[in-house]
């Protein structure tokens, strides 16, 4: 991909202070996002996807978080920005879409005013222009009767409508970067597809880059260009979407793919990766962190590193070369 680089994350680590001690939740993550690209980040619960997203948009409480590395967004080192400088960018050049649309809307503020908030902060439109823009946005995200909905409160809308409102808020100022943290998880399947289509449309229009966080590989297959698979705060495999689905290498990626339900799967039984992501307090960063979940495979010695095994295809460690599923042994 030769498009303009929008965001580059370089060796970023994030540690949270718990009872006075710092524990690493994100370890040395590097990623690049270009215009018009959808970068999917997948992984089980607790693998650090949201932590990475909130680091990019600066939501961490800096009293209890230690962030190292570099994040370059449109030639700005965002980890070095002051709160005010960051506020100029947030909501203007980058926007975020949350998982639970009801929680992300203020229950006591009318829909129209919530959308207007980011216009208030970033634009010098007149009230009438803002009003018009709010209606335009509601139209764009497919809300019928924008005038009426703008005057309603969040609890008066359905889940799918609310998520459209959240998207309208995120794109109000046509951001170059959209971070969507599980935007469809709280919605039912038919609405999921509509929301994904909407995101794609918006991207086409603004030439934005999207970071899409999900644990649904079906969603990834549908919209992503590049996929980064995270486990225990590290990237274990990264590849263009076609490569990932056809030629996954890392045991974790392969387990996730195997656990994915398909219509033409021969038996109905779903594969389950036993165990779970360890808590950040229990991670031994000097070892092969996924090894305990595939005990029949010889683990990497020490801490495995990420290597480019083919152009744009990165895999962590060497254990994948010999890995077989139990039933293939």
């Amino acid at each position: 991909m030769k498009e303009e680089t929008l965001l580059s994350i370089n060796g970023v680590s994030v540690a949270f202070k718990i009872n006075g001690e710092f524990y690493t939740a994100i370890d040395d993550v590097s990623l690049e996002l270009h215009r018009d690209e959808v970068l999917a980040i997948v992984g089980e619960s607790g693998s650090g996807k949201s932590t990475l997203a909130t680091t990019v948009i600066g939501l961490h409480n800096m009293n209890a978080t230690k962030i190292t590395g570099e994040i370059n967004f449109q030639n700005k080192e965002i980890l070095e920005l002051s709160e005010d400088e960051f506020n100029d960018i947030r909501g203007d050049e980058m926007g975020m879409i949350f998982q639970d649309p009801l929680a992300a809307l203020n229950p006591l503020i009318r829909i129209g005013d919530q959308i207007k908030e980011s216009l208030d902060v970033h634009s010098d439109m007149t009230e009438d222009q803002k009003q018009a823009r709010v209606h335009e946005l509601l139209n764009q995200v497919g809300i019928p009767h924008p005038e009426r909905v703008a005057k309603q409160f969040p609890h008066q809308l359905s889940g799918g409508m609310r998520q459209r409102i959240i998207i309208a808020i995120a794109i109000a100022n046509k951001p170059q970067l959209i971070i969507a943290d599980e935007p469809t998880t709280a919605l039912d399947v038919t609405i999921q597809a509509q929301i994904l289509d909407l995101l794609k449309d918006i991207q086409r229009e603004n030439h934005a880059g999207i970071i899409l966080i999900t644990h649904d590989l079906g969603v990834v297959a549908e919209v992503a260009d590049t996929v980064a698979v995270m486990y225990a705060g590290e990237i274990v495999e990264q590849a263009p979407v076609a490569t990932l689905f056809n030629d996954a290498k890392h045991p974790y990626t392969r387990s996730l793919l195997r656990a994915m339900p398909t219509i033409d799967s021969e038996d109905d039984e779903l594969y389950v990766v036993e165990g779970a992501v360890p808590s950040i307090k229990d991670m031994d960063r000097n070892s092969d962190l996924f090894a305990p979940r595939i005990p029949w495979t010889k683990p990497d010695v020490g801490h495995p590193v990420l290597k480019e095994i083919a152009p744009n295809h990165y895999v962590r460690g060497e254990s994948w070369r010999e890995f077989k599923f139990k039933d293939e042994l």
Partner: protein, 314 residues
């Protein structure tokens, strides 16, 4: 929460089937007023209390306007302790021969206004400090909360009495500010704990991702969500402040001479003969205080329930 669930919750709360329009579930807004009205209709005691309070407040404020200052300052020993009904004094007269009805109205006005001002001051500082400490946390929070912990254990009545005695040019505003000094810490704690949990909610994080400043988030996003809590707290503090002012006045450290208070009226009962033989002098203000405070607390309970109901809908 799945969509279906949500709709059921709204139905059971609203008691109405939502109409479906354009795929959106449209339910009527459970406005604050409607919720409060519903809670009042369910609680007849509170409804009666509210009506009584409204009538009493309006009567006191309007009537007091027509009572000349001389009626409460002039001393007329000849008419001392007239029994109720004599010479047109419906509730009799007090030690200075002043009409008890006029005294009661003027005192009630003073006591209510002063308690009201103290509540405003207390809520104002309580809410601002609570918002700041709860939102920013960290070192500021720790320091302010330690100071408040210390402040709250101080024997505040004693300190107020000392301050009242040593302040040279002492009037009702001095009293308001002195009591106000001790009236905001409870509110701060209450607001802070609510803000601590609100600040972690997604709508605050979402607002941050829109680039809103901390100031905007505190006052535009979080404050409206504290409204019902503030209403409940103000109501109950108002009753409490009436109690504090009347207590101080009863003890002789409250309103200055010439500004009658319900507490001063009750203090007539410190004379054993008055206490035993002239109940018409001190019983009316006592009943007045009790009715007002009990009434306010009933109404406060309804506000609290209405706030909780809204919380559930949240």
């Amino acid at each position: 929460m799945s969509e279906k669930n949500e709709t059921q919750v709204q139905q059971s709360v609203q008691g109405k089937v939502p109409e479906i329009k354009d795929g959106a579930v449209i339910v009527e807004t459970p406005s604050t007023w409607r919720t409060i009205k519903r809670e009042f209709l369910k609680d007849k005691v509170a409804l009666v209390s509210a009506i009584i309070l409204a009538v009493v407040f309006v009567t006191v404020i309007i009537w007091a306007f027509f009572i000349p200052r001389s009626a409460v300052t002039n001393v007329n020993i000849i008419d001392q302790y007239l029994t109720p009904g004599t010479q047109g004094h419906l509730l009799g007269t007090d030690e200075q021969g002043r009409d008890q009805v006029k005294m009661l109205i003027a005192s009630a006005r003073n006591s209510l206004m002063i308690a009201f001002m103290i509540s405003i001051i207390g809520q104002f500082f309580g809410v601002i400090v609570g918002l700041i400490t709860g939102y920013f946390r960290g070192i500021v929070d720790t320091i302010i909360m330690r100071v408040i912990d210390f402040w709250i254990v101080l024997p505040f009545l004693m300190i107020i009495i000392v301050l009242v005695s040593i302040v040279p040019k002492y009037n009702e505003w001095t009293l308001i500010w002195i009591i106000g000094l001790f009236a905001w810490q409870g509110t701060t704690r209450l607001i802070r704990s609510k803000v601590l949990s609100e600040a972690d909610r997604d709508y605050v994080r979402a607002s941050k991702t829109s680039g809103s400043s901390n100031f905007m988030i505190m006052f535009r996003e979080i404050l409206p969500n504290l409204a019902s809590l503030i209403i409940v707290d103000t109501t109950l503090n108002f009753a409490g402040n009436i109690g504090i002012e009347t207590t101080l006045s009863f003890l002789g450290f409250g309103l200055p001479n010439g500004t009658p208070s319900l507490g001063t009226m009750v203090s007539a009962a410190t004379d054993p003969t008055v206490l035993a033989t002239k109940p018409y002098v001190w019983v009316p203000p006592v009943i007045f205080i009790i009715v007002i405070c009990v009434g306010i607390s009933f109404v406060g309970q309804v506000f609290r329930r209405a706030a909780d109901a809204r919380q559930r809908l949240g």
